[in-house]
């Protein structure tokens, strides 16, 4: 770098802080999606009334308005779904020619692409995420996932040298509320490709895209019972986990619940994969391209309201550039538009639920109480709905709860370091190990950092990238097993001697 360039890079941002800019509203049309008044459980290829008789209301978290009544599946309902999955497994799906299985998955991928806007609007309505994100990230990736695994269905023997892969059986899958349809795709696509059948439980607060997905399955003419969707809260999940007829559990969610599931399954011989929490370090070295890095910091923590298990929630900045980075970050934060998820301008949408908002608020309060310094940009929030202003904490000690616990909200904790070794030590100083970010122009340092970081995904000079071909999953208490790529097939096959 020349001296001039260096000076430019070090130049503190003198531009004035932006105050809340006004934008003309650019709302996405809501009427593309038709939400039913009430939904049953999708079992054996059709919607059935819950035997439990219980229902609950799912809402739009941005408006606190009810969207639909959905079923709270009980023990008998879960049992019915597992039996339907078992029947479908035994009577057709597992013996179907793999090339035919592939074609069903290709169909699903195509249908998702065709109906992508409908899904995007519904995802934003029910989950609170910005339409720009559900439109450009969640739904295209979900379709891509089905397309990717469709191609594996008749090529499994090439994935496992010297072994004969056969399906595990009935997979019970429990997914979170942060990427409802995408997580559904991550779970269902590899399971079906490998010849399994599925009982999937969407998250309590975001069931609607999974229920709309049932209509895609109808259009794809997927045989009844191959995919069953049971809605409900944690009680439904617990019934699914402990059901004798389930051969494999795949769970994405909190580390606490993951551990409870692992305990429940102890000694049962059931297969298990867990994709749990994270507290990722996003590490910025003094030679990093700072403006790009600041975009990466913002994308790392404020993407999807910070409701991301791999969010870059701990920012590690090299001491020499600390002031510059914080100034640039604050300036950038002031331009973030928080508000209506269906507005195409929105960067940060609604917090997914009241419960989550309370959890974020409590942890943020703990940060203030423990002595960290809080910064929030000026921000106009809608009057109704669940919102949290993008927040950054400086003066954070490693022991603070905001530096240790997963907040799962738009809250960033900033720490500093001097040497690469110190950065690695601080980054690894957590029970989690899901992801990490590294920003530096030096290639050899990137590779050395990537080796030293105990995390399943390392983003170098980028952050929060996902792809069906790219394996995703954690080290340590962030779980085990991978989703995506060739490695994502492994949880869904039993490997017999060839």
């Amino acid at each position: 770098m020349t001296k001039d360039k260096r000076e430019i890079a070090r130049r503190p941002d003198k531009a004035p802080m932006a105050t809340a800019w006004d934008y003309a509203p650019a709302p996405e049309a809501r009427d593309i999606v038709k939400v039913e008044e009430r939904y049953g459980l999708f079992i054996g290829g059709t919607f059935v009334e819950p035997a439990s008789g219980e229902r609950y209301t799912t809402i739009d978290p941005a408006r606190e308005e009810p969207l639909a009544e959905v079923a709270q599946a009980g023990k008998a309902d879960v049992d019915r779904a597992v039996r339907a999955a078992r029947d479908a497994f035994a009577n057709g799906w597992s013996n179907l020619r793999p090339s035919e299985r592939a074609k069903y998955l290709f169909r699903i991928a195509r249908l998702l692409q065709e109906r992508s806007r409908e899904f995007a609007v519904l995802e934003s309505l029910n989950g609170g995420k910005p339409i720009r994100e559900s439109r450009d990230v969640d739904i295209p990736l979900a379709a891509a996932h089905f397309f990717y695994y469709a191609g594996w269905a008749d090529k499994l023997e090439y994935a496992f040298p010297n072994r004969k892969p056969r399906p595990v059986g009935v997979a019970g899958q429990i997914i979170p509320w942060n990427f409802p349809l995408l997580m559904l795709a991550w779970k269902i696509a590899p399971a079906l490709a490998a010849g399994n059948t599925v009982v999937l439980k969407p998250a309590e607060t975001t069931p609607l895209s999974a229920l709309l997905f049932c209509d895609v399955l109808r259009q794809a003419e997927l045989p009844p019972g191959v995919v069953n969707i049971v809605t409900g809260d944690g009680r439904t999940g617990a019934e699914l986990v402990s059901h004798q007829g389930v051969d494999k559990i795949a769970f994405t969610g909190s580390t606490e619940v993951g551990k409870a599931i692992q305990r429940t399954l102890a000694g049962t011989g059931k297969r298990l994969t867990l994709e749990l929490g994270g507290k990722a370090a996003n590490i910025i070295f003094d030679d990093a391209p700072l403006d790009q890095a600041v975009e990466g910091i913002v994308n790392g923590i404020y993407f999807n309201q910070g409701h991301v298990c791999c969010a870059g929630s701990r920012l590690l900045v090299q001491e020499s550039i600390y002031e510059t980075v914080i100034a640039k970050l604050k300036r950038r934060m002031a331009t973030l538009r928080v508000g209506d998820p269906l507005d195409k301008n929105t960067d940060v949408g609604a917090i997914n639920s009241k419960q989550q908002l309370e959890k974020i608020s409590a942890l943020v309060q703990s940060g203030i109480d423990e002595g960290a310094q809080i910064y929030q940009p000026p921000c106009k929030l809608p009057e109704r709905g669940y919102w949290f202003v993008p927040t950054v904490f400086t003066n954070v000690a490693q022991s603070y709860r905001i530096a240790q616990e997963e907040i799962f909200g738009p809250v960033l904790s900033v720490l500093t370091f001097r040497t690469p070794d110190e950065a690695i030590e601080k980054a690894n100083n957590t029970p989690y190990g899901l992801s990490a970010g590294v920003w530096t122009e030096k290639g050899s340092r990137i590779l050395a950092m990537a080796k030293g970081l105990r995390a399943g995904v390392v983003w170098a000079n980028t952050y929060n990238r996902f792809d069906p071909a790219s394996p995703f999953g954690g080290y340590k208490e962030s779980g085990f097993g991978r989703e995506g790529g060739r490695h994502g097939l492994e949880p869904y096959v039993v490997l017999e001697d060839a």
Partner: protein, 265 residues
Amino acid sequence: MSERLPVQKTYKLYIGGAFPRSESGRTYVAEGANAARASRKDLRDAVRIARQAGGAWWGMTAYNRGQVLYRIAEMMEKRQSELAALCTGPDEVAAAIDRVVWYAGWADKLAQVIGSANPVAGPYFNFTVPEPTGVIGILAPEPPLLGLVSRLSPVIVGGNTAVVIASEAHPLVAIELAECLATADVPPGVVNILTGLRGELSPVLASHMDVSALDLAGADGDSAELEKLGAENVKRIVHGRADAQSPYDIAAFLELKTVWHPTGM
């Protein structure tokens, strides 16, 4: 009294490359000898040392790690008769030596077979590499030598370190093997072998927060309880087979790391 009185061997533990007695001073009678009866403290020491040894072991080149494993086989070959006297016999020893050699050759091939370059839909270079899980707790199954070697070899060839609880009934061959390890350039602490009472040691191993994974190959009847204890830090649970020999047995103790970087001029 013209015949010479033989010098008998004291069988001790193998921790951090040394052969200490149990800190508790306890022994138990096994196979006619006084085997060390490791305490919970011995086990915790072994885990701490195994964790410390991990960095250097994984930091070695794969070629080097492969040679160390091969060297173990060399040492075992020269001690065949001693080993055979303490297990089911020469056939078991031969199988155990061949198993170590087989795994030695995997060290510098794993990443190619288990890792991948991933064609993502965007301007990124993306690859996945296997890395060691960490400290692996092994309950060695019978037969006492082949079972131990079959479970230990895949663990260490991938760069992990191990804390092994030897067969309770037949512990002596494990310590005989430890002498092979100690002279095979296996860095101290990479393999730690404890003898003692399973019921006493297994729960401590399973619940230890710095043990990353468990191979319950040798668990008898208590594996549900041990798995439950292991959940506290999301341990990877493996039920290895004493006769298994495959890269999948290595992969069970590996994590997969995926690295992204943008491409562009």
